[in-house]
Amino acid sequence: MARCHVSVQHADFDFATELGWLGDGSGAVASFIGRVRDDTRDGVPLTAMTLEHYPGMTERVLEELAQAVAARFALDGVLVLHRVGRLLPGEQIVLVVATAPHRHAALQAVDCLMDHLKSVAPFWKCEEYGAARHWVDARDSDQAALARWGAL
């Protein structure tokens, strides 16, 4: 049975500390960190990005995703950590870690988890460029990425 740990939080996270949840018995540790990009819009640099979510549903969806991906790729452990609130450029938004006996399972699990998280977990990004705020639109490419995996 894989260890799964899911968290939705305001606070920043530290990779090494979070990795502690999963122990050191697995040979392969794959991970992905999403960060606020140094973007510009019409020449104005991104000031901040606010992550909103649907409390309750978010945690359940992430927990179900973690369990499903752990089963599919025979993982030793899965960690999913997503921040909410107002973040500055360069700040960390999301951390996904998968541990497994072998590297391909761990890497594929991270890829699969991110594709699903981006399409089914109820988070929304609102960008600030100076005084202008705008909600980020969902991208068709996220749906296409999801289709690669079939049913979880």
């Binding site: 649907y54 309750g56 929304w124 909600w135």
Partner: protein
């Protein structure tokens, strides 16, 4: 109970992210005559006119969750349900 007789459904409706901004509220309590589906609730909201009819109709894409599970227009609403309306998700 006579299934043809309307029964009142009390719903907690949530508006999230961009929809909260454009519709000007984050939640409201509504009472519908049941039985009713998500499609019935959406029809009632669209009947309020602008901006409801454009945000929840036409070619605008949005999602509905009932009691925190993704739903579709045919999903049946039960008394006390929490219905959330929100744009396609953009996290990660």
């Amino acid at each position: 109970m006579n299934p043809t007789e309307p029964t009142p459904l009390h719903l907690e409706v949530l508006y999230l992210a961009r929809l909260r901004d454009t519709l000007g509220r984050s939640r409201e309590t509504l009472t519908l005559d049941g039985p009713a589906t998500v499609a019935d609730l959406l029809a009632l909201l669209r009947a309020r006119g602008a901006p409801w009819d454009s945000e929840l109709g036409g070619d605008r894409v949005f999602r509905v969750a009932v009691d925190q599970y993704m739903a579709d227009p045919a999903t049946v609403l039960v008394d006390g349900a929490e219905v959330a309306l929100f744009p396609p998700v953009t996290g990660g």
